[in-house]
């Protein structure tokens, strides 16, 4: 039976159900136990499972991940939380030198089945250090899977898939979707496959590739364009690494145009990689330039409302991109 849940409820439910199902699963991070998390993603888990399995850690992101890596090496299934993607930097060593490479450097002798939940994203007045996405840093690291859901259904299914995945999975959660994204979520157990994009809207005129919080905005923009007779196909990547190249390429070969939308900074972002894939694999199918609507190359999202607004991708900017592309 499905009910309507918010994204954050879906995330909490996935953790609770998996902890019930699998004794090896436990949660660790800053402020996740006694307080239930800054955004209440772990609300209720402490009361249900106790300190043993819902562990408030010292304020040390590097050690949160390193200790989770070590615990996974002896067969446990940790879910580590990074309170804000902005503060993942102290954990860079643990993520990119340890989690992503332990299997490779031991030729499979040691594995790392680890889920890192990371709260990210702007548009909430968080300012420079409570708004960053930073997912692209990790897409550059083979050995790490990177996912970001846009719906409560995917949030639960992707999280269950992440916990069960024998590889390290970075699970990015956009804070703006926590309570604005609502949708049907089955009560029971299911997974959403990692590495598979979802086509959210069919359309013949252009392909829009996006993910996370940008997905509902792209869908809204596509509806607006529809009024003027332009039908955009909207692909929600859901997984940023490994990328579902096939779904993107198949669509672009049909629509012959591609718009890429992401919130994170532009240079060397996901959009740059998708553009390159399309240029390499579908060059002759293109009827117009690849267009990117992205966050700007500015160090981080500034605090003052007009500045934050100027940074953020919104429906207007996406519509403008669609119009530019439609003209070809």
């Amino acid at each position: 039976m499905a009910r309507t849940l918010t994204m954050i409820e879906a995330i909490t439910e996935a953790m609770a159900q998996e902890m019930e199902r699998d004794e090896r699963v436990f949660v660790m991070g800053e402020d996740i136990g006694l307080s239930g998390g800054v955004f209440k993603a772990t609300a209720g888990l402490y009361d249900k499972f106790g300190e043993e399995r819902v562990l408030d850690t010292p304020l040390a992101e590097g050690n949160i991940i390193a200790s989770a890596v070590g615990a996974s090496m002896v067969g446990l299934r940790p879910i580590a939380e990074i309170q804000f993607a902005d503060f993942i930097t102290p954990a860079m060593e643990s993520i990119v030198q340890q989690a992503s490479k332990i299997r490779y450097r031991s030729a499979g002798g040691y594995g790392c089945s680890l889920t890192v939940r990371i709260c990210c994203g702007g548009g909430t007045g968080g300012g420079l250090y409570h708004s960053q996405e930073n997912a692209a840093w990790f897409v550059h690291e083979p050995g790490l899977k990177v996912v970001m859901p846009s719906t409560p259904y995917d949030a639960k299914g992707l999280l269950l898939a992440a916990i069960r995945d024998p590889n390290p999975v970075l699970y990015f959660e956009h804070k703006k979707l926590y309570r604005t994204a609502k949708g049907d979520v089955p009560e029971g157990d299911y997974t959403v496959p990692i590495g598979k994009a979802e086509t959210r809207r069919q359309g013949r005129d252009m392909t829009v590739v996006t993910y996370g919080y940008m997905t509902p905005l792209c869908l809204e923009a596509a509806e607006q364009m529809s009024k003027s007779g332009v039908e955009a196909e909207v692909i929600d990547l859901r997984t940023l690494s490994p990328l579902d190249r096939d779904t993107v390429l198949e669509s672009v070969r049909r629509t012959n145009k591609c718009l890429i939308v992401h919130e994170d900074k532009r240079t060397l972002g996901i959009g740059g990689e998708i553009s390159a894939i399309i240029a390499e694999e579908a060059f002759e199918d293109l009827d117009g330039p690849i267009v990117r609507i992205t966050g700007p190359d500015v160090p981080a999202i500034p605090f003052a409302p007009p500045l934050e607004h100027a940074w953020m991708v919104n429906t207007e900017k996406i519509v403008a991109g669609m119009q530019k592309l439609a003209a070809y």
Binding site: S67, Q97, A107, G108
Partner: protein, 337 residues
Amino acid sequence: MASKSGRAVAELETEKSENGRELMLGLYQMLVKCRMCDEKARILFRQGKYAGNFYSGVGQEAAEVGAAYSLREDDWIAPSHRDWTANIIKGAPLKLCFAQLFGKATSPDRGKSTPAHMGYPPIHTITPASSIAGQLAVGTGVAFGLKRLGRDTVVVSFFGDGATSLGGFHEALNFAGVHRLPIIYVCQNNLWAESVPLRLQTALTDLSDRAKAYGFPGVSVDGNDVMAVYDAATKAIARARSGEGPTFIECKTYRWYGHSEIDPAKYRTKEEVEAWKKRDPLVLFEKVLRDKKFLTDELKDKIAKGITQEINEAVEFAEQSPYPDASELKDHIWAQE
């Protein structure tokens, strides 16, 4: 050398124990084995038999052997760059250790990791990353996992004086203290971190003082006295195994050669090096054994001959082993599903 463990006065428990002779000869044999393997690794590098680099631990064997010798088969070691021989002490076949130097397909990591950065999963030595203090953090995580699983297995983490300056070191030891993790932090203080002298690394005299900040005991021992290290380690291991938590052991020691095989180590004085070579951990221990009449010339020869033969076979195995095929480049990035 001043020692907080009271080594200067107390009779060592190792010497008192009933199987003292057997144990001491075992330690001696392992010291010789590590020395000979390490010297061989250096020669092979100089002969151009393998590329990359090697970080010799010659001069520091007593710290390495003393700390790891009494570990059980199911215990773990988190080694660093200078601890290739930790694998030997824990029981890795020499063939694999030399295949590791050569980067051959028969090495535990099939030629992926660098020569000195060796781990061997069946005996629970963790293949280290090169990033200093990284292995210490992951080793702490393993101890965390073992404790959660309710096992009575322990982790020995090896690192140098330089590693104690990194943030990851502090984070790991702090966490280990909070959760009384079953881990023994063995710092081989060889007075130098590459070319940086200890006085520019820390204002401390005894690195074991750091343990105070994490709420567990720290001891400084003569790292060239294998029995002093062994005694401190067995106590720390027993403590960890019984759930009482971590111990920090500083082994004051010295590396004889450069930081790596490409480092002429011109930053150190000849006098300093010579003074430490006079305190060769093997010579010191040999004297103890001879005084006790545990070691004769005959036995010494026999031990050396046995090891030489084992090394020769291992080197031959390594030389004859194939390199990994280029098709293996993308193996082991992801779990096999």
